[in-house]
């Protein structure tokens, strides 16, 4: 029987400690990021929490001049698709790039990025920052 756990709360609790965590499948070795209780590669349910390297490549991006209300404090920002070193892809805010100069960012793709946490008041979220 798989042990029930509050994965969402656990992930956010880790982010609150500035830890970017995922799950590694103990059967096939692939990663679930963000965490879900079953491996989407091999269907295994024996997964362990691991700290992600935070290393990734920004492959493509969007500009967000007028975000929804919860994100207006961060506007304007670049939003992008990052493939993590461990395999999973995730979309989130990209920091350390000029949102006004999307042509320069287009030329730099794929761009090395590193995960960090962003304070949202009552929780933290994972974002990526362009490597210098």
């Amino acid at each position: 029987m798989v042990k029930m756990q509050p994965f969402v709360k656990q992930w956010y609790d880790f982010l609150g400690e500035d830890k970017v965590m995922g799950l590694r499948c103990n059967r096939c070795g692939s990663y679930e990021f963000p965490p879900v209780p079953v491996c989407n590669n091999c269907s295994g349910t024996d997964l362990s929490w691991v700290e992600m390297s935070g290393e990734g490549k920004l492959l493509t991006f969007a500009e967000n001049p007028t975000p929804d209300a919860p994100f207006v404090d961060f506007a304007p920002f670049i939003y992008g698709a990052v493939v993590l070193k461990e395999g999973p892809t995730f979309h989130t805010m990209i920091l350390g790039v000029d949102p006004e100069d999307t042509a320069a960012l287009y030329d730099k793709l794929p761009l090395s990025v590193k995960a960090e946490t962003q304070d949202r008041g009552d929780h933290k979220f994972v974002v990526f920052r362009a490597r210098k």
Partner: protein, 429 residues
């Protein structure tokens, strides 16, 4: 992961289609003051008339209404609309795969029929995106909805645990897809802008010839002249078509509208007795994933749904498809069009630049005008696009008729979340 694809145990045909004019119930004369009930009823009754049957002949219905709770203050809406289509006390089910709903709904209906459980099934949907009922009031008492609120509520379709908190952008999907395409094939940002604007020109050429597309009545060339531009491309790069993303411009994106659509399906063996021109459903497929798994093209979402549909239909998309409808709310004509096999890899943007995707081109796309011209009524749009394909295959599309009349059509839809549904239709020979 691969899935098992079973064939239909009995052939299934579309025998009737209907959709309302797409517009705004606060102002468009054809649909003014109507609620979700009237819109769905008139689409359904049009489909029944088209099929030459009545409500008493239909065994069950599917009702796509993605935004029931959030925009219409109505959950479990199949009960609310059953009377309106003459199907009180029959099986009726509301469902939601966002903007792919009425394409997915065709698959539900076809599965019911092929299993032998039901014979005649109506599948349709409705959405009102420009206004909403006032809290606690009957639904004809409405107030306009500002776009920010529409998008906020539409984003309930995004996973709220991990995806929505990432800071979704309104035009995110266009930018992500088109920039990925440009990097894959070595295109400049200007070439991508030109390709998207060329798509706008062909879409508008299609849409102004569709009487049910009520929002735009002029081709871009004429509109450009009125604004003092001799060159339509300059007009589409001007302040009249402002950028609202890294690549996305105003006319590249869907315009939210109100409308409804309905399709009627029955066993292929029964269809011949009802219509001279049955259109067979020969394949369908669907995928669900949280969209943050997508980066490189082709998307897994598209690949999976197309592969399922083509395997069931036993067609070669590179040579067998005469008409393609790509979900174009966010400029996906060349990215998803290539995933569909309708364009060779890396060539879709060029085919669009050459104007070949209008109704009179050799690679016609979305002859309703698509979501940027006819507009996008969330759950209802896919059904209208399937209805358009059926009418094209029957040769009934007047001044926007594809020639020669298409015999195999593929309709692709992406719903927020994300969901992808694809269906393949073929004219009975």
């Amino acid at each position: 992961m691969a899935i098992n694809i079973g064939g239909l145990r009995e052939g299934v045909s579309i025998i009737g289609v209907g959709y309302t004019p797409f517009g705004n119930v606060l102002e468009t004369p054809e649909i003014k003051d109507m609620t979700e009930r009237e819109l769905f009823a008139f689409a359904a009754l049009e489909a029944m008339e088209d099929a030459g049957i009545e409500a008493k002949d239909i065994d069950a219905f599917y009702f796509g209404h993605a935004m029931g709770e959030t925009l219409s203050h109505q959950t479990a809406g199949s009960a609310a609309v059953a009377d309106w289509i003459g199907m009180r006390n029959k099986p009726g089910f509301r469902h939601d795969t966002a903007c792919a709903s009425t394409n997915a709904g065709l698959g539900y209906a076809a599965t019911d029929i092929a299993s032998g459980v039901r014979r005649v099934v109506l599948s349709g949907g409705v959405e009102i995106t420009g206004s909403r009922p006032k809290e606690g009031k009957p639904p004809h008492i409405r107030e306009p909805m500002i776009p920010e609120e529409l998008w906020f509520r539409t984003n309930y379709g995004a996973d709220q645990a991990y995806w929505y908190p990432s800071g979704l952008a309104p035009a995110y999907m266009l930018d992500l897809a088109v920039i990925a395409y440009g990097k894959k094939y070595g295109l400049t940002l200007e070439q991508l802008d030109d390709a998207l604007n060329a798509a706008s020109i062909s879409n508008r050429r299609n849409g102004v010839r569709n009487p049910k597309a009520t929002t735009f009545k002029k081709e871009f060339a004429e509109e450009a002249k009125e604004h003092g531009f001799g060159d339509v491309n300059e007009y589409l790069k001007s302040r009249f078509n402002p950028k609202i993303g890294a690549i996305a411009r105003m006319y590249h994106l869907a315009i939210p509208v109100d409308g409804a659509s309905a399709l009627i399906l029955c066993p292929a063996s029964m269809a011949k007795g009802l219509t001279d021109h049955p259109i067979d459903v020969i394949g369908f497929g669907s995928t669900a994933n949280v969209y943050y798994h997508e980066a490189e093209l082709p998307w897994q979402l598209d690949q999976g749904a197309f592969a399922q549909a083509y395997e069931m239909a036993k067609i070669n998309p590179h040579k067998d498809v005469d008409y393609m409808s790509i979900h174009d709310c966010m400029g996906l004509q060349f990215t998803s069009g290539e995933a569909a096999g309708y364009f060779h890899p890396g060539e879709g943007w060029r085919v669009i630049m050459e104007g070949r995707t209008a109704f009179d081109g050799d690679r016609p796309l979305s002859t309703t005008g698509g979501r940027t011209v006819m507009g996008h009524a969330w759950s209802a749009s896919a059904g209208a696009e399937i209805a358009e394909a059926v009418r094209q295959m029957r040769g009934l599309c007047g001044t926007r008729q594809i020639k020669p009349v298409p015999e195999v059509s593929v309709i692709h839809n992406i719903g927020h979340g994300a969901h992808c549904s694809v269906c393949v239709l073929r004219t009975r020979s």
